[in-house]
Symmetry: C2
Subunit: 337 residues, 2 copies
DNA sequence: CTGAAAGCGCTAACAT
DNA sequence: ATGTTAGCGCTTTCAG
């Protein structure tokens, strides 16, 4: 791997017949420094000729900024959600020319020894974004105390501490139910699993939305299936045999359950959305691929990444900023409603 | 965000009453430099007292090494596989104190303008690992020409070019079928989808393995279902009604299909593995969670990451190295076989 | 065994 | 409008 030494800004300066400073002024478009069009051209030409790339390390060193931020994520986040959030982060980073450093924090052990924190201390990164990874109270405290810029992007975090991008689905739920009501559906049922606590707030959100929309609230509309997702089919089968029909509209706890319901309806010859409207809570890669395509209420993943990153930059740059940002879920109507 | 300036090695030196050089010698354990135990202690104590972390940027600058490698991955890799490979990479990186920089290469456009290459040119990374992302022939050429250290970790790459970690499942398939034969299974069927080209090599591998094991090769054992994974159940239902039984052993194209088969068997009261042995091709997070747990033939994901990273380091450091490494899949017997 | 000093490539006062 | 120069924090000859 015979390395031909890379050209430095000095080389460019010599080639263009100017000083190193001028090269820096031109290449960085330093505001307040006027350069004659002629010299500017000469510099750019020289840089192109030598195929010059500024050495980011030297730049970092001089600016005393790492030009990178650390991302630590839970291993079990689905790739789809993680990537979507990353895209948001990346786009917020792009104009700043910052890079992303992946950190592998061990779940156990004090955060002071986590890779992300060590990277921060050794100037490899300027701040940390925790994506869907659980932070303990003492971790929050430590990060604050050490004045480490950080942001938590997480929908399941229990308490509302600072530096957090949260999300709220109440409004989107109301919009969704409202649209069902306008379509003439006089009742909206809820289909989900009973034994899964983390998603319980979806059921509670549904109840609140029912109330807000003045839709009937009755026990028989709460289709909460014990066991695992596989039981949904069996449940529907039984329900259908007993009632000889399904509710006019069903809100599903997750898109997975939404797809199951669609399949069931197709098998029974129940037409969607005429006889049955289906809306699912949650973002899925397949929502628009099913037939009929699945109406969903989606987490603002991209925005969570984008906004979270901007929040982090405000912290890094010491700008005043909100410490908790709440983003709204979106109702995305498709063919099934 | 009031920054209290971080201590430098100079501060540590002053605190310990030694020179900056000595601090460097001690902290880096420079080979060939003997330090009196007494001064060493003084330095370490001072470092601890000041809570000193070496500035990695300055270090990079001086060493002219970025101390980071770039990872570019296809967005559609499942998180499970990607993370497993990353763990391998990470572990290979750990003793070297290198970090991982995520690169977002656009699929289209010349690789010369991809983020990974730009990062390399500007000294942010020392090499690139492409994980499951398609590289065109001209990309290979470009990377070689520019002498950029890179490695491709990819099972689906069509042609065998250089700098690649490939994998081979032939041996593992033979081991698996052999074990079925020893368990007294006189025939092994294949269950998979017909209309999916990328996995076709699994079926071909199965045929080869049958031959190697001297097991019967008959059309009726090739259960290749047209359509999508959902059709598997219907297919099995029909098959079972017609034949009144299932083959004694079935090799499944993917773990998803394996789970479907297990469920079907349970429903029909077919005991696994006594009446039916099941083995699936592919790594899954759930293999050991089903009942009975699913025997699988697994891609060496972790090793692909680990070895790929070592290969990259050989390239970076200019050491002689194999340019293509092939890793073997593994047969992991569990309860279902 | 330890210290003094040079210098990596860049930017930003300060000069001119 | 552009050049001169100091120095970011570290490693590493070279001297002692």
């Amino acid at each position: 791997m015979e390395k031909t030494k890379k050209p430095s800004s000095k080389d460019v300066a010599r080639e263009a017949g100017v000083s190193q400073a001028t090269v820096s002024y031109v290449l960085n478009n330093v505001p307040g420094v006027k350069i004659k069009a002629e010299t500017r051209e000469a510099v750019l030409a020289a840089a192109r000729k030598l195929n010059y790339y500024p050495n980011e390390i030297a730049r970092s060193m001089r600016l005393k900024r790492a030009m990178s931020i650390g991302i630590v994520s839970d291993k079990d986040v689905s790739n789809f959600r993680f990537m979507r959030i990353l895209e948001g982060i990346k786009d917020a980073l792009l104009p700043k020319n910052y890079s992303i450093t992946l950190c592998f924090d061990k779940q156990n052990g004090p955060i002071a020894q986590a890779e992300s924190v060590r990277y921060y201390c050794s100037n490899r990164i300027e701040g940390i974004i925790f994506v869907y990874s659980e932070l303990r109270d003492e971790d929050y405290l430590y990060l604050h105390e050490k004045k480490i810029p950080f942001v938590v992007i997480n929908s399941h975090q229990k308490h509302s501490l600072s530096n957090q991008v949260k999300n709220d689905m109440e409004q989107a739920l109301i919009t969704a139910l409202q649209s069902l009501k306008h379509a003439g559906k006089k009742e909206v049922a809820f289909l989900g699993l009973r034994d899964r606590n983390p998603l319980d707030r979806r059921f509670r959100g549904y109840l609140k939305a029912l109330e807000a929309c003045a839709l009937p609230m009755e026990e028989r509309l709460y289709m909460r299936v014990p066991g695992k997702a596989e039981q949904i089919e069996t449940f529907l089968e039984t329900y259908y045999t007993v009632h000889k029909s399904l509710p006019m509209a069903i809100l599903c706890e997750s898109s997975g359950i939404g797809f199951r319901l669609l399949r069931f309806a197709a098998r029974k010859g129940v037409s969607v959305p005429e006889q049955l409207s289906v809306i699912a809570i949650g973002t899925s890669r397949f929502s628009s691929l099913s037939y009929p395509s699945l109406s969903t209420i989606e987490n603002p993943l991209y925005e969570m990444g984008y906004t979270g990153c901007q929040l982090l930059f405000n912290l890094i740059e010491g700008k005043p900023t909100q410490s908790i940002i709440t983003l709204e879920w979106r109702f995305v109507p498709r063919e099934s409603s």
